[in-house]
Amino acid sequence: MDKLSSPEHKQSGGINSLSSKIYSWVDERLGISGIAKLATKKRVPEHRHSFWYYWGGITLFFFIVMCVTGVLLLLYYRPGDEAYESVRQITYDIKFGWLIRSTHSWAANLMLASAFVHMFSAFFMKAYRSPREFIWWSGVILLLLTMTFGFSGYLLPMDSLSYFATKVGLAIPGVIPVVGPWISDLIRGGPEISAFTVSRFFALHVVIMPALFIPLLMFHLGLVQKEGMSIPESELEKPVSERRSIPFFPNFAMQDLAIWLIALNVLALFAAIFPWGLGEAADALKPAPMDIHPEWYFMSSFQTLKLLGAWFPGEIGEFVSLGLFGLGLLLWFFIPFFDPSTKGGKRGRLATYFGLIVLGILILTTAWGYWVLPAATH
């Protein structure tokens, strides 16, 4: 108080001294200057592969957009019998509702796309190696959760396409022996997709998934802070004196912010120029639309299912593809155990080939899936 009332302080501007007083009051209790110091000490390696460091941040940005627009959509969305009507109102009656919904849908797709880029870049830079195994595992689970977010959110408008796509998607666990049909019925809340399914998916989408996702995301981000950015092998081969790095704050943070700004602009362009459409209301008594297909991030599994279905007729085909996907995912998940070495070596090369094959199959089957779609979507 004495300092505040002293004449020099009055001259230098009361607001500044007041804000510094408030800052030190808060700092004494929360210790924020320690965190600020840590942020200024933290450095980010800089090399010719640094570009890939931004993709986790881009994914995070889209997730934040999802949260904000998701809460806004919650204000008018009504699950259950009124689901389609409420989305129709959001899209056509509520002011700028189309933009909020379009932004939510586009951000979901862009979030998944950047998550895939992030994961593959981490894979090829071998960022899963010790001591970052848990970062890799939490990241793979986060991607699976993100796909579940997408699957559960896709049904919520209950238009014709989302209805049938979900119907097909939920038929897949039904081929698991013995417990399959029981699981499918339990997820659906009955033998058919109904208002019960929408309410279930709604609870999954807005409560259960965020409750799982956010703590895991904190774990993922916390570990990245603890271990720092992974440095690719080519960079590790250089002597320490030749490695370059930039301060996290403000340099990397500013670059990150600039990238986020670009991401925001791209998102705004997509959302405004290609507003997300709404089909006819779902009707179980109408035949499925000719161009029925899942979202692009399930296209690869959808197409594989179709292909293997042709080779192995009947439920065997679905079973074989489920098995193949499960096996591939397990290999992918446990790659840190297969390729633990920090030097090159045979296993390191094998892991890279495995990654290239997985990437190739994903791209090929996705493209194939879109190629054979009926003309309606082209």
């Binding site: 204000l75 009656d93 002011k95 700028f96 933009l99 705004a268």
Partner: protein
């Protein structure tokens, strides 16, 4: 704090000096960045505001009603009342024992409860805090209501009750 940041900036940006030129450039950049930031905030804030305010706008459009026709109200027995919607708010139509008609807003002027007609005492009564109003004029008679209920004009045209603002 800001001096520290400036001294850590990479090549190209000169730390500020006493003569003030670099500070000018810094100040300009600050203002430009703030202006761009404000544009983004507005571009995001405006649609979000309109989205949030959308039901309010719809309601105020619905409230802009000057006349309501009640086709079946003519069947209302003597010494009885009915509640109807005038715009977005409830209103009350009373058929008095002398076959005259009164229409008033049905929103208590005290704290906004919907009022009702009491045929036994022939008054309008608010159950929330016991306020009463004159059933013909809407004047507040007793209890907490500070103001009378607003009266509407009632006309019978082609066998239908038409309520309009006075």
């Amino acid at each position: 704090m800001s001096e520290e940041i400036i001294s850590k900036l990479p090549q190209g940006s000169t730390p500020k000096n006493e003569s003030g030129e670099p500070i000018e450039r810094r100040a300009f950049l600050k203002i430009a960045a703030s202006a761009v930031g404000a544009c983004y905030a507005a571009a995001i804030g405006y649609p979000v505001y309109r989205y949030l305010a959308s039901p309010v706008e719809t309601a105020s459009l619905a409230a802009a009603v000057n006349e309501v026709t009640l086709p079946d109200a003519i069947k209302l027995p003597l010494n009885a009342a009915m509640i109807f919607k005038f715009g977005v708010k409830p209103a009350i139509l009373i058929h008095h024992p002398d076959n005259s008609w009164t229409a008033l807003t049905a929103v208590c002027t005290h704290l906004g409860c919907t009022v009702g007609y009491e045929p036994s005492r022939q008054v309008i009564y608010c159950p929330c805090h016991g306020g009463t109003y004159n059933a013909t004029t809407g004047a507040n008679i007793s209890g907490p209501p500070p103001k009378p209920l607003t009266e509407f004009k009632v006309a019978i045209t082609n066998g239908q009750i038409v309520v309009s603002r006075t």
